[in-house]
Subunit: 389 residues, 2 copies
């Protein structure tokens, strides 16, 4: 025996990952599940494991197994909360680290007990808090984006001014605006924040400018604080590019204290195959919320991307289903949306949503302020109006 | 016209992304390509773009298109180097940010000009440097892992001692060892590093202990420096969990200055579908190298994972093909390997490789030191021996 028997200080509390997986039959699937239980924890064949708590508690348990259709099954596997070390990267590692390299296994949903969730502060604002910031207690909120990449700063700032004046609640940088020589971050943020705040003075609205602070690692926090100093109302980060835990770091920072919005780029490969990767609900719902995002951008059904209505419903579920003490966050569907589609989107999403229309708003007519007023009028009918002043 | 014509300070230098994509026919594929050229840069329909440099230079160009087989095509699309802002996260964003959310498009390869590569320091050691550190100028190098999760620190340290004594070159933490209560990071690293260095004193070998420093964002650099102080010979990071740019930050830090090894966890979903995501060559070859990893772990063909021989060959290609001034790095195939398979693996990989055998080394026989000596003897035949003392 290589290893002596072990006795570990474990609480007995476990978290559960719901996986979907394919197999020739139930026997085959049970073998794959045993593989997951070992791979995600001890990474040794069962016969090599020491007796005691490692074998009995550290290895994942199969809690339930269900036949879905044809060769597909759904398995609930639980892990001791201590395997996560109460750290977000390691929680994702146990959930799907090495198993991400196996085909036809998909993480469908996370079920986290209070004993684990208490390690995470979660969203600072969430839906209720964001609504207060923009003075929109009940209606759907409105978002647009500054673009295109390459537009000089003064023109981006002028766009921001018009959007704010027209009644948009959140103006984000397009996610491709970083720190390029043609619109360097600091100058852009200073001028766009000033333009939005000037428009707010005039309109009485409470529009937030939300710059993209995705950057080299050592500059992200600096850019966030610079944005705050410059008068930005929040920041946007792409966790697929800089790590989900970076979002958590910012969201939990009491000295920072602004809303943080999650952008979906580079994470699409987790969701594009229906039986592989990590589900829409987890990738764009549960994970950003767990990290503390106040809102999560994703691509709407029926636009220029391939998400289905059901995919979008599952993301919404991830933003609002009970998750311990963690606040519900806003879904932000976008990507190829137009004002013409808004009535249908209102029906689908209801009030608990931030609509992101960018290209469609630019294309609506030559007067951007007027375009925004039309956008606003369409949602004001739906709620409290959040009237100016 | 919403936007005035633009004139931008662009160098004219471009980088190229090779994509593979599916379409009903060439016409359909060309429409998709136009979509990528816009999506990855300006994110607006072409008709809305301002005249001048944005339309002419910022939007991606189709450089070449090739029919591969059936409905599959390969397209080379170039982008102005300035779109990357000379920052790694934004480079990935232009490469595949939003397009990751489109099915049946895969990033196959990156072609980066010197004008862009000069923004990256790349690997500090690379193959030649790592060989010097472990005194193995020509033979394949050997790696194993400390496991299982849950094993008390004193037992992990004893394992490390035996592996080092037996002639392993790099002993990494298993990637699931983080900062769990049963083997907290600082105590584990202190004791394992001491054990390896004690064994080195005795054996005359130059074994490196390589702890896993994947952690909450604000602790990663601290853990790296703690490991260095404690006598570790390198560190391992999981960029799929904490962002590729975090690896770059560490690798470029002259005050740190130890080898950095990239672990493949959580990035598997990019590669598991042959026509979606980001290729093995890019994900596990080009990207870690670009960030400055000295070696890249991936799962070997024929083990308990699904990578093929060709997938592994493509990763090797990514580790060594000309990439400006960036040093070639070591491929580290692992995952279900055994000593019995080593002769075949030697034939496949040659000398420019680090073999990772963990479970298979534990299972080889009751005497771990002896198991390591067998492992070492198998590769010493192949090269310089790097003899003790």
């Amino acid at each position: 025996m290589i290893f002596p028997p072990t006795s570990l200080p474990l609480s007995g509390n476990r978290f559960t990952v719901i996986y979907r997986l394919a197999g020739a039959d139930e026997l085959d699937v049970r073998a794959k599940i045993k593989g997951i239980c070992l791979e995600q924890t001890v990474e040794l064949p069962e016969e090599l494991l020491p007796d005691g708590d490692i074998r009995a508690e550290v290895v994942g348990y199969l809690e339930s197994l269900q036949h879905l259709e044809a060769n597909y099954f759904e398995a609930a596997i639980s892990y001791a909360i201590e395997t996560s070390g109460f750290e977000l990267p390691q929680l994702l590692n146990v959930m799907f680290g090495n198993t991400s390299m196996q085909p036809y296994i998909r993480v469908e949903r996370l079920e986290l007990p209070a004993s684990l969730l208490q390690a995470f502060k979660g969203p600072r604002f969430g839906r209720v808090g964001l609504r207060k910031l923009v003075n929109g207690p009940a209606r759907p909120l409105l978002c647009t984006a500054l673009k295109p990449m390459g537009l000089p700063v003064k023109d981006l700032a002028h766009l921001a001014y018009q959007f704010a004046l027209g009644g948009i609640d959140l103006i984000k940088d397009d996610h491709g605006l970083a720190n390029q020589p043609f619109h360097p971050f600091h100058e852009r943020v200073r001028r766009c924040a000033a333009a939005v705040n000037e428009a707010n003075q005039k309109s009485g609205y409470h529009c937030l400018y939300v710059p993209n602070i995705t950057a080299p690692t050592q500059q992200i926090v600096e850019r966030a604080f610079f944005a705050k100093e410059a008068g930005a109302g929040g920041v946007m980060l792409i966790p697929g590019l800089v790590g989900l835990d970076m979002l958590r770091l910012l969201a939990e920072d009491d000295n920072f204290g602004l809303p943080v919005i999650s952008h979906p780029a580079y994470w699409g490969s987790y969701v594009t195959h229906p039986w592989q990767g990590v589900s829409h609900e987890v990738t764009y719902g549960q994970l950003p919320r767990l990290a503390g995002a106040d809102a999560t951008i994703f691509v709407n059904y029926g636009g220029r991307f391939s998400f289905s209505r059901e995919d979008c419903q599952r993301i919404i579920k991830g933003t609002e289903d009970l998750l311990g003490q963690l606040k519900p966050i806003f879904p932000i569907p976008g990507g190829g949306m137009t004002l013409a589609r808004l009535p249908e989107m209102l029906q689908f999403y209801g009030r608990e949503v931030i609509f992101l229309i960018a290209g469609g708003l630019y294309a609506q007519g030559p007067d951007l302020v007027e375009n925004c007023r039309q956008f606003r009028a369409l949602v004001d009918q739906k709620g409290d109006g959040g009237s100016a002043g």
